[in-house]
Amino acid sequence: MTVKFKIQGRTYTGTQEESLLGAIRRYGYEVPSLCYHEAVSPYGACRLCLVEVQKGKRRKLTTSCNYPVLEGIEVFLDTEKVVRHRKMVFQLLLAVAPAAKKLRELAAEYGVTETPFVPEDEKNECILCGLCNRVCKEVVEADAISFAGRGTSKRMESPYDETAEACIGCGACVHVCPTDCIGMKEENNIRSILRWHRDLPMQICKKCNRPFAPTFQLNEFAKRVNLDRARFDNCPDCR
């Protein structure tokens, strides 16, 4: 259903099904975020996408990625309150993942370069945003990794922090990770997804002799769509 709503006093249209953050960005406004991706369900983990939303008489601070676009709401960006809370969120994130370069850069863009909180692990780069997990589950449908533990021992890892055997080496998680802390490399026809300890031999195209995708991934795809495996012997260019 199409609805009308306001951003900074100007009227725009959107649908109730979309995320408020997506709608705000569509109209050219900037809001920082680390755990949002339009392809997967929002999770509200990083708390960076804060805005103020006025609904009738009530005005409140909320994360926008997991807020719906509702008829008649008014959205305010970068208010004094938003700026103050966002600064705190950046400081907390910097303490969680002090080694995350991209996080430090984004924080610096918003004027935050230091944190008063004491980091637990100076080397940590993962902000526990869960994007890798959501992409792997919802888009790739491999469900190879997950959160483990909880509270201060919560971490994102492959089962038992050993080889993620369900991982097809597609690299989707590597690509969406906001802090680049998963890592992938290809060497001697082996593709490795570093953080999940997964090494997969590549299939060599029978025509052009180039490695094009992990063999295991092609096996899985053939199984999923119930096609003859031989159809995947050649790379997409030579098919």
Binding site: D143, S146, A148, G149, S158, P159, Y160, A164, E165, A166
Partner: protein, 153 residues
């Protein structure tokens, strides 16, 4: 866990993926921990991704991924219990049974664990042995609580 035992548990829940938690609980009760091989089999049998079971089994503190002792002793180290001498109790048990906190005696008799506040602060310091709460503990009282265990040794 042997295949027959596991099958009995799985059948009990008609191999329903939605019964996963109950299944894990039963395995934990039988084995006192969740053996890795068994978890792999459960994943295969129910068609549930291993990653999801792993997430569950590390989330709930009632599950353990490591083998645990026949008896489980938990000492509360929450703030209230801490100031009333919980660290002394831990040291006492560590010495008496020669097992560091967080580990199990080599004969698999006793696992010693610590937790943060079990919500009975008024009774602190608190020690839980095999599910039974013992409040206002001191080393002398502890010895009495542990006497049945010591005898068997």
């Amino acid at each position: 866990m042997d295949a027959k035992k596991l099958n009995t548990i799985l059948d009990k829940y008609r191999r329903e993926p939605s019964a996963l938690l109950a299944i894990l609980q039963d395995i934990q009760d039988e084995e006192n921990y969740l053996p890795k091989d068994t978890i792999r089999q459960v994943a295969g049998e129910l068609g549930v991704p291993l990653a999801r079971i792993y997430a569950l089994s590390t989330f709930f503190s009632s599950f353990s991924l490591e083998p645990r002792g026949k008896h489980i002793c938990t000492v509360c180290m929450g703030t209230a219990c801490h100031v009333r001498g919980a660290p002394r109790l831990v040291e006492h048990i560590e010495r008496e049974f020669d097992v560091p906190a967080g580990q199990t005696t080599p004969d698999m008799q006793l696992t010693l664990e610590t937790v943060n506040c079990v919500g009975a602060c008024a009774l602190g310091p608190l020690v839980i042995l095999d599910g039974e709460y013992h409040g206002n503990m001191n080393p002398a009282k502890l010895d009495r609580v542990f006497r049945p265990l010591k005898k068997k040794e």
